[in-house]
């Protein structure tokens, strides 16, 4: 019978399947970010040259060769070394800003959503007001007053301006969780407020907090690179932004030195793409409808979709042949079996088969 087919799947296969159910986008994003974090950790140690070293005899950028794998800048600086050293400060700035801003948004979002009333009104007003303040111009003005601002100041200001979006989303989720039965139950049993928040509410917001963290890191990376490119960030140390600043400043594009301007730009793009992909993956994890289009089919010019493409349905499609065989062996397969699993699967099978079976 159907249940037997499902339960004979070995544990190893099931584990593989649960890993496979992590969206491809999330895996790809995590892989890219992992690579960048690795470079951030070991980059400065494996850099073949001193990134700031210059060759006084040189005035034109040198293309990639055996000694300088990614070529040199106009004054003989090794591009690969600059890249390996520079990734660290960009990644660290992004992560630090992400941690600080996400912490702020969790604290403010959860307090607003959980406390309600005047506290909620006040905190919502604050986060909505910060949300509409234009961040980049404000940063430009503040950094304009602090000409020698280091990465710490930049990270601080980015965090102050980066929390409201996450706070808004987390507040909404907290409000919805607060009225659920399991929270009411733990309140009835006399749990303390901090325990309800940390053990009942927060664990249910992990994916939301992770998404907000990833989004904030993306914002911090792109904004800090743009600021440094404008010459307003920390130009004394190597980062992807300061590399791009020198690219623009020393006309690498006009000189046609692609090995000089392409690597830092592509690095930022790939780092950003990794973060965007990871966020999409988290989105898909929370919203199964966004997952791949496997459940869709076209009949007579109409694109028909299964009404409820949940993971259950998708797994079923993989074993549809097996299931069909099992059902055939059982005869009708519907009459005697009243186990809920079997009913769900047969129901799902019918729904998934709609259109294909009925129209053809």
């Amino acid at each position: 019978m159907a249940v037997a087919v499902i339960s004979t799947v070995p544990a190893a296969t099931r584990r593989k399947r649960s890993l496979r159910s992590v969206p491809l986008k999330a895996k790809l994003g995590a892989l890219i970010i992992g690579a960048f974090v690795l470079v951030a950790i070991i980059g400065p140690y494996i850099a073949p040259f001193d990134p700031s070293a210059i060759n006084s005899g040189q005035s034109l950028p040198l293309g990639p060769n055996g000694v300088h794998l990614l070529g040199t800048t106009s004054f003989g600086g090794d591009v690969l070394s600059q890249l390996l050293v520079g990734v660290r400060s960009t990644v660290v700035l992004g992560l630090v800003t992400g941690v600080v801003a996400t912490f702020l948004s969790v604290v403010i979002g959860v307090s607003a959503g959980f406390l309600g009333g005047f506290a909620d009104e006040g905190l919502s007003l604050l986060s909505n007001a910060f949300l509409v303040l234009p961040a980049l111009p404000l940063l430009v003005v503040i950094l304009g007053y602090l000409p020698n601002a280091g990465n710490i100041v930049t990270a601080f200001v980015l965090s102050i301006l980066g929390w409201p979006w996450g706070a808004r989303v987390i507040r909404a989720q907290t409000m919805s969780l607060r009225s659920r039965d399991f929270v009411a139950a733990s309140r009835e049993t006399g749990e303390r407020t901090w325990r309800i928040i940390f053990f009942e509410i927060l664990p249910n917001e992990v994916s939301l907090i992770a998404a907000s963290f990833v989004g904030t890191v993306l914002y911090a990376v792109l904004t800090s690179v743009a600021l440094t490119f404008l010459g307003l960030g920390d130009l004394s140390s190597w980062s992807l932004g300061s590399m791009l600043y020198w690219v623009q400043n020393q006309n690498a594009l006009v000189l046609g030195a692609w090995w000089w301007f392409a690597p830092p730009g592509l690095c930022v793009a790939f780092l950003g793409m990794g973060l965007v992909l990871l966020n999409f993956g988290l989105d898909e994890l929370g919203n199964p409808r966004l997952r791949d289009a496997a459940g869709q089919r076209k009949i007579g010019g109409h694109a028909w979709r299964p009404a409820d493409p949940t993971p259950v349905l998708r797994e079923l499609q993989l074993s549809q042949r097996q299931l069909a065989g099992a059902l055939a062996a059982e005869g009708s397969g519907l009459g005697g079996d009243t186990s809920s699993t079997a009913r769900r699967f047969v129901g799902g099978h019918r729904r998934a088969g709609r259109g294909r079976g009925d129209v053809q």
Binding site: Y145, Q248, R289, G301
Partner: protein, 327 residues
């Protein structure tokens, strides 16, 4: 409290924050407009310092509260002080010259990008797994590329190599800005490349968001019911699915306006475009503090007003906001 009244309160509060931050920044930070002026004109006698302090309204006479109210009164009269860079022009005069450039270029580019991105998002969601949907990773990449990098590449390719477009600036130099044909022609020609880069980079975000919401909406039973009763595909797409899925995009449009102005800042820097952003950049690099603050206030207020307008559109688009306090 109704939706609009609530939002209005938020904006008034945000405006107050912007104005207050703008008041405190010069008082907390190092750097002073008078020393900048003294450095700019080395021939000035030390005695001129007092005169300059009086003219620029610094030196901070009176208590902080007193200064704050004097500042507010000045602000309400549109008195933003004098620019050190364009001395003796006032900040308001400089702003009046630069605003139209940014407003026309960035405004047009934003509307086109929003419309095009939303449209493509609808199509990608409806033709799930189709060509447009398959291209999504490419759009993801465009969303993650730093804007200025793409703009630099575009200048390199289209302006320096193929000479299709000018490599920067707002118009050909000897022309005098005004409403005559040759100037308008030149201005439009100079704005094509910046507008294209803005549209290409910002479109992806609209498209992806629209697609994702649309896919969720398409899964709703009422869409299935509409299809099942044999309505034309076009009708189902536009009046059933897209009509409901577009709401988050409209809300996002409001919030992203701040980022649009920010993007314009980098764009104007890369293209040396004579708008508000480039003027802000020049003010920052030459320590023109009054101009810097004036531009920040202007941008903040523009963003707030644009948000208010977007909220009004949202109320029209979503009837639910009219009946209960959706927030």
């Amino acid at each position: 409290m109704s939706f609009i009244a609530r939002r209005l309160a938020t904006y008034i509060f945000a405006a107050w924050i912007a104005v207050t931050v703008n008041f405190f920044i010069p008082r907390l930070m190092p750097g002073n407009v008078v020393t900048t002026m003294m450095a700019r004109f080395p021939s000035l006698q030390p005695g001129a310092m007092k005169a300059l302090e009086a003219e620029f309204g610094v030196g901070h006479a009176g208590s902080l509260i007193h200064q704050y109210f004097a500042y507010l009164v000045n602000l309400f009269h549109g008195n933003l002080g004098l620019s050190t860079n364009y001395y003796p022009s006032s900040v308001a005069t400089v702003l009046a010259q630069t605003i139209p450039w940014t407003l026309i270029l960035v405004g047009t580019a934003t509307v086109i990008s929003f419309a095009l991105g939303t449209l493509l998002g609808i199509l990608a969601a409806w033709h799930r797994g189709g060509l447009l949907d398959q291209l999504l990773p490419a759009f993801t990449f465009l969303q993650a590329v730093p804007y200025f990098f793409l703009a630099l590449l575009a200048i390199d390719a289209f302006a320096l190599h193929w000479h299709l477009f000018p490599n920067g600036g707002g118009y050909v130099m000897p022309l005098v800005p005004g409403w005559h044909w040759r100037f308008i022609q030149s201005a439009v020609y100079h704005s094509i490349l910046p507008a294209l880069t803005l549209i290409v980079t910002s479109m992806a975000g609209w498209m992806l968001q629209m697609r994702n919401v649309m896919i969720t909406t398409i899964g709703e039973d009422y869409v299935l019911a509409a299809q099942a009763k044999g309505l034309a595909n076009r009708r189902v797409v536009w009046t059933y699915a897209a009509r409901n899925a577009i709401l988050p995009n409209i809300a996002g449009f409001a919030i992203s306006l701040g980022f649009v102005v920010a993007g314009a800042l980098v764009m104007e820097f890369v293209f040396s475009y004579p708008g508000v952003g480039y003027t802000l950049y020049n003010a920052v690099t030459s320590d023109d503090y009054p101009l810097m603050q004036g531009i920040f206030l202007l941008i903040a207020m523009a963003v707030l007003i644009a948000n208010l307008l977007a909220d009004a559109i949202y109320v029209i688009a979503d009837p639910r906001t009219r009946t209960r306090a959706a927030y």
